[in-house]
């Protein structure tokens, strides 16, 4: 496995690309579930960047960071989906733009 000749910036390009796609998803979609999915994509992009950097430096820290990001993502999704269920029950819609009672 050791003659992998991939320059670091290609990997960072990939994670950057994924990050911007995730960001785009959050901005575009109005359904909360899709937004949560986009957030997962962004977090995954960061995880990829960390693992890549870890591999580049040959340290386990990258993967430790990956584990932490994983747990954060999991917790977030749990609470997020719980909220989604409540919102579906309370507002009967998942459209994020409906939620604009507070303004000014």
């Amino acid at each position: 496995m050791n003659e992998l000749a991939v320059p670091l910036n290609h990997l960072l390009f990939l994670s950057g690309l994924l990050f911007s796609i995730g960001m785009l998803g959050v901005m575009i979609r109005r359904n909360i579930i899709f937004i949560l999915m986009s957030i997962e994509v962004m977090l995954n992009a960061c995880a990829l960047a960390f693992v890549g950097a870890g591999a580049h430096w040959g340290q386990p820290d990258g993967q430790v960071m990956y584990v932490m990001i994983l747990s954060i993502a999991a917790a977030e999704v749990a609470v997020g989906l719980g909220l989604v269920l409540q919102i579906q029950r309370r507002f009967k819609t998942l459209d994020m733009d409906q939620a604009n009672r507070m303004r000014g």
């Binding site: 990939l14 796609i21 575009i28 990829l48 584990v67 999704v77 989604v84 269920l85």
Partner: protein, 168 residues
């Protein structure tokens, strides 16, 4: 030499899957594409020399989190009228603005990251090494992660409880 090509193939697959995931109107289709993209990334992890991370990615990320999503979507049974509504929400007028923004963001990132040199893989960082550092310097981090998950659980429990009572 093989690994490099595998890396680029899986990168392409990941990118394509994510883009498709973002643009699908049907939640389930989007979810499936997302799982495909996660698996592609797991392959990259493996290639890059982080087998433990790859395994985690497949088992937990694709396995647990995405499955959770499927449960919720099924529970909400968005169904057909959900798709029509999604399509309406996706006319060009909505996503043109954010699209330009993220393109600009992308160009900036490419510029900024472009100048980095150095190869990615310095050899395999085995699960053993990760385990040692996890329970070496990062022992407190693990404890804190557990607290974090506890918080997530309590939060989910609180938000979900009312539902169960209603249903039961």
């Amino acid at each position: 030499m093989l690994e490099t090509t595998i890396f680029y193939i899986s990168a392409a697959v990941a990118l394509a899957a994510t883009i498709l995931a973002m643009t699908r109107t049907n939640a389930i289709h989007a979810l499936i594409y997302l799982i495909v993209s996660l698996l592609a990334i797991a392959v990259i992890f493996f290639v890059v020399g982080a087998p433990f991370a790859a395994a985690l990615e497949v088992v937990i990320y694709a396995g647990a989190i995405m499955v959770l999503f499927v449960f919720v979507i099924m529970m909400l049974n968005l169904g057909e009228e959900g798709d029509a509504r999604e399509r309406k929400w996706l006319e060009p007028s909505i996503w043109i603005g954010p699209a330009t923004l993220s393109v600009v963001l992308l160009i900036e990132l490419i510029f900024l990251i472009g100048s980095v040199e150095g190869q990615v893989s310095q050899g395999v960082v085995s699960a053993k090494m990760v385990g040692i550092s996890l329970f070496g310097p990062y022992v407190l981090a693990v404890e804190l992660a557990s607290m974090l998950l506890l918080a997530g659980m309590v939060g989910a429990f609180h938000l979900g409880r009312r539902l169960l009572e209603k249903r039961a």
